[in-house]
């Protein structure tokens, strides 16, 4: 599965697009994000708070459409990920 990451997340991934291993079945956005964090542990802070809840300003698009943590995505889906807002 291909993820396009924006903002300071690229400081963690080192690139704008990353691939994460996929199973053959659909999975929720939340589970995709968890596996992304397994691959890039330093991304955790930018996506989840200390209790493991997804931060409110994190934005995910699946094939260009806004998605919720529960949205199911196909193994071939293109995911766009914008981390929690920072700075000012």
């Amino acid at each position: 599965m291909e993820l396009t990451v924006h903002g300071p997340l690229r400081g963690v991934t080192g690139s704008k697009t990353v691939s994460i291993a996929t199973d053959d079945h659909e999975e929720s956005v939340h589970s995709v994000l968890e596996r992304f964090v397994e691959q890039y542990p330093r991304a955790n802070q930018q996506l989840f708070d200390d209790d493991g809840t997804l931060r409110a300003s994190v934005r995910v698009l699946v094939d260009g459409e806004r998605a919720d943590p529960e949205t199911e995505c196909r193994p071939t889906a293109a995911i766009t990920l914008i981390p929690a807002a920072q700075g000012g």
Binding site: G7, R10, S57
Partner: protein, 434 residues
């Protein structure tokens, strides 16, 4: 608003967090004239005031005589003075229910759902900002780790205070923040954070957000390649679908601590009249702005403006004070030139090219991308390959972080001949007395 061109223009009107071509003008200043501003504090005040559409409270755009799209606006910073007697700052925590997509932009009351609600202040503390409709705490931010700083009368030092001092300063927060009459923000001193008490800091005030109006409307805090990233995919009015739309930015929010008295900024003109705007003064800040926020203060600036016709610039340039330049990017001395001429004769070098310092601002998602952006901007301005830009910046310059995650200043001693060609030689000469 009178269209009369003024030699000296005082500006006391601010926007509600937006910059762009539709904002009302503050007035018109003569080419070669002086602008004076008194601006309310940046980030934190607007961030906790839900009627704002962006993270700062900058001036309305200033029209500059003769400035047309494709020109460069030279802004010489004559003075920056802090008027607040205290401020609070630190790192932020967003409040889940108080916004749609972006806690800086699309505010809404968590209880009644009013968008960009009017609010009133009840008492002090992080729950003091109340929706005028329903009374709920409507602010979209709290502190993750916050501190309150009080300044001495001459604004040379700051001292962080504990709960007693923070309380005292919160009681007269508006007055202590020195908010100008037309400001619409709530003062951050109301939140009275009190970490790291007893810490003494040196003050070195500078302007955090200063630039020309972009051709498209943007939240003022997001007019930069790093914060602009948070507009991607957003559903609010300023959301963008593709990163390439950020090319419209003018990087006003650059947070470089070198944008201080004595420095000169050169900004690309993207709307007729230039639309210079100013705000987000900081009492001090180390390179990188590591809490992502710093000592936001109200304060005054005095700026001299001048238009240079037809300069092809993709982003702003900075001519810092000579003392702020990297050592190897400082102007050549006569002794160095003489020594170089002797070497040139010995090794058959035809001419020793004269060169002068200049910094190219770059911004992007990360410092690496910001540096690439600065390479691109330098390459297109000076018609150099990336290899040549990298070589010159390695041998006669360097890259410095203005702000993390992604604003840099790329220094280079630029051959004078090239500066002549692009029309910038005289402003650089004047800056460094060459």
């Amino acid at each position: 608003m009178s269209q009369q061109i003024q030699q000296e223009l005082d500006v006391d009107q601010f926007t509600l967090g937006l910059v762009g071509p539709d904002q009302e003008w503050a007035g018109t200043v003569a080419d070669g004239g002086t602008v004076r501003t008194h601006t309310p504090a940046g980030c934190w005040g607007p961030m906790i005031t839900p009627s704002f559409r962006g993270g700062h409270e900058v001036t309305r755009p200033i029209r500059v005589e003769n400035a047309e799209v494709g020109d460069a606006l030279v802004v010489r910073i004559k003075d920056v003075s802090v008027t607040s007697i205290a401020t609070s700052t630190g790192s932020m925590a967003e409040r889940d229910e108080a916004f749609g997509d972006d806690p800086f932009i699309d505010h809404r009351c968590p209880e009644c759902g009013t968008e960009w609600p009017d609010t009133v202040v009840e008492g002090t503390g992080e729950d003091a900002i109340r929706c005028a409709e329903c009374g709920a705490n409507a602010s979209s931010f709290g502190f993750e780790y916050g501190y309150t700083v009080v300044f001495d009368e001459d604004r040379t030092i700051g001292l962080t205070v504990g709960p007693e001092g923070a309380n005292q300063l919160a009681e007269n927060a508006d007055e202590n923040m020195a908010l100008p009459e037309n400001s619409r923000q709530h003062p951050i001193l109301l939140y009275k954070p009190d970490e790291i008490p007893g810490t003494l800091g040196h003050l070195a005030p500078f302007i955090g957000n200063i630039g020309t109006t972009p051709a498209v409307e943007l939240p003022d805090s997001h007019n930069a390649g790093d914060f602009g990233q948070f507009l991607i995919g957003a559903d609010h009015d300023w959301g963008i679908t593709d990163e390439s739309e950020l090319e419209a930015r003018t990087d006003g929010h650059m947070d470089s601590n070198d944008v201080r008295p004595g420095a000169t900024l050169i900004c690309p003109v993207r709307v007729d009249g230039g639309g210079l705007y100013v705000g987000d003064l900081h009492a001090n800040q180390g390179d990188g702005e590591l809490s992502l926020h710093t000592t936001d203060v109200s304060g005054t600036t005095e700026l001299e403006v001048e238009v240079i016709k037809d300069v092809e610039m993709d982003g702003p340039l900075l001519l810092p004070n000579e003392s702020d330049l990297p050592d190897i990017a400082k102007p050549y001395t006569d002794d160095e030139r003489e020594t170089a001429n002797a070497l040139a004769a010995q090794y058959g070098v035809d001419t020793v090219s004269d060169a002068m310092p200049l910094q190219i601002i770059g911004s992007g998602a990360t410092v690496n991308e910001a540096t690439d952006n600065a390479f691109d901007r330098a390459g297109s301005l000076f018609d150099m390959t990336e290899g040549e830009v990298r070589a010159r910046c390695t041998f006669t310059g360097g890259v410095e972080i203005a702000r993390l995650p992604g604003v840099v200043q790329l220094s280079m001693l630029v051959p004078t001949e090239i500066l002549e060609d692009v029309g910038l030689a005289s402003v650089v000469r004047e800056q460094y007395g060459l």
